[in-house]
Amino acid sequence: MAKTLTQEFTKGLWEEIAPFRLVLGLCPVLGVTTTIENGIGMGLATTFVLVFSNILVASLRNIIPSKVRIACFIIIIATFVVVTELLMQAFTYTLFLKLGVFIPLIVVNCIVLGRAEAFASKNSLTFSIADGLGIGIGFTLSLAALGAVRELFGANNLTIWTTPTSIIGIQEVFGTNFEPFTFMVQAPGAFVCLGLMLCLMNLVGSK
């Protein structure tokens, strides 16, 4: 069943949207999504690593010996993670501090390794780029969605991006009298919120 380039791209956005459908790469999904901003930042960092590791794996797929392929993939991914780390330190330092340990943890994100193994090592370069972009954007969207729900109820804010001088987003969405539901931004809220979102997706999908 050969798919077109567009199909490879769009499957990552709904059919195979990584955190919900495959339940992979949950650590950053739960760990950083206290605000939309963190979710988007983490998602974009992962997309960057995903696309570039897919490019390299796809172009080297005939050279890498199959017995040591996992080790090779991990080194390729780790290289791009270090690149991301250094770039984020240079250009988005505050976000880098907020995401903390989760940036180096992209190395062990199952989605990235999973795509390298299951897709990029078997498909051509252009298809691998489309796949990486699709899965990456799907991942970013799900992180942003979870971040939005948690931030909206947990802190009564919707912050899309913080620059040193201003904040892009809406503060106090429900007005000043709304008492924030702090459970949502704390650790237990992450699990419950993701569980309920998964339930919602199953409901929508089953129709």
Binding site: V23, P28, L30, V82, E85, L194, G195, L198, C199, N202
Partner: protein, 190 residues
């Protein structure tokens, strides 16, 4: 920070699975049966403690003096990957019974965020050698405790009648949230 604080903090308050969200893929993946949960927990305890100590030594005596700190992600993942391979070979030769018990879980640990994350957290906190050791043990025990407790709950949930869209992972996550809430309650202790 005293040792008692590190131990209680590592096992309960900053539980690596439920409070720091590291290693959640195996947490949900291997918790459907008690047997697999115990196997995974043992494998993680074993590797996490070894990896924590070795990466600390590597970081303090090699990466810092030679100003290679920016390479730590690559260095740590290589150490963990080769350590897992080495432990696997060692166990296969000398303790076949344990090897059979851990089975498929050992190779999976290479991509377990709990192990890698704990190593990074250890060096980020600038702990000394003994404290790194204690911290790693505490994290590992916390991981095992949470995983085994969760597996116990999940085995019972299979018997319950759960609404269709909530089934499987969805109810698993909600349960994990409640478990996380109980661990959260230990926050008053330190």
């Amino acid at each position: 920070m005293g040792y008692m604080e590190i131990i209680i903090g590592g096992i309960f308050v900053n539980n690596i699975l439920l409070a720091q969200f590291l290693g959640n893929c195996p947490f949900l993946g291997t918790s459907k049966k008690m047997e697999t949960a115990v196997g995974m927990a043992m494998a993680v305890v074993f590797v996490l403690v070894l990896a924590g100590v070795i990466t600390w030594v590597l970081y303090t005596f090699f990466l810092v003096p030679y100003k290679l700190v920016y390479m730590r992600t690559i260095a740590f993942i290589l150490v963990i990957a080769s350590l897992v391979q080495f432990v696997e070979m060692f166990l296969k030769k000398s303790i076949p019974a344990l090897y059979a018990g851990l089975g498929i879980f050992l190779p999976l640990i290479t991509t377990n965020c709990a192990v890698f994350g704990a190593c990074i957290l250890n060096v980020d906190k600038d702990l000394n050698f003994m404290k790194t050791l204690v911290q790693s043990v505490a994290y590992a025990v916390g991981f095992g405790l949470a995983l085994i407790l969760f597996a116990g709950v999940r085995e019972r949930i299979i018997l319950a009648r759960v609404p269709k869209p909530l089934q499987d992972t969805s109810i698993g996550l909600v349960t994990a949230g409640i478990l996380s809430l109980t661990f959260y309650a230990f926050k008053g202790m330190i």
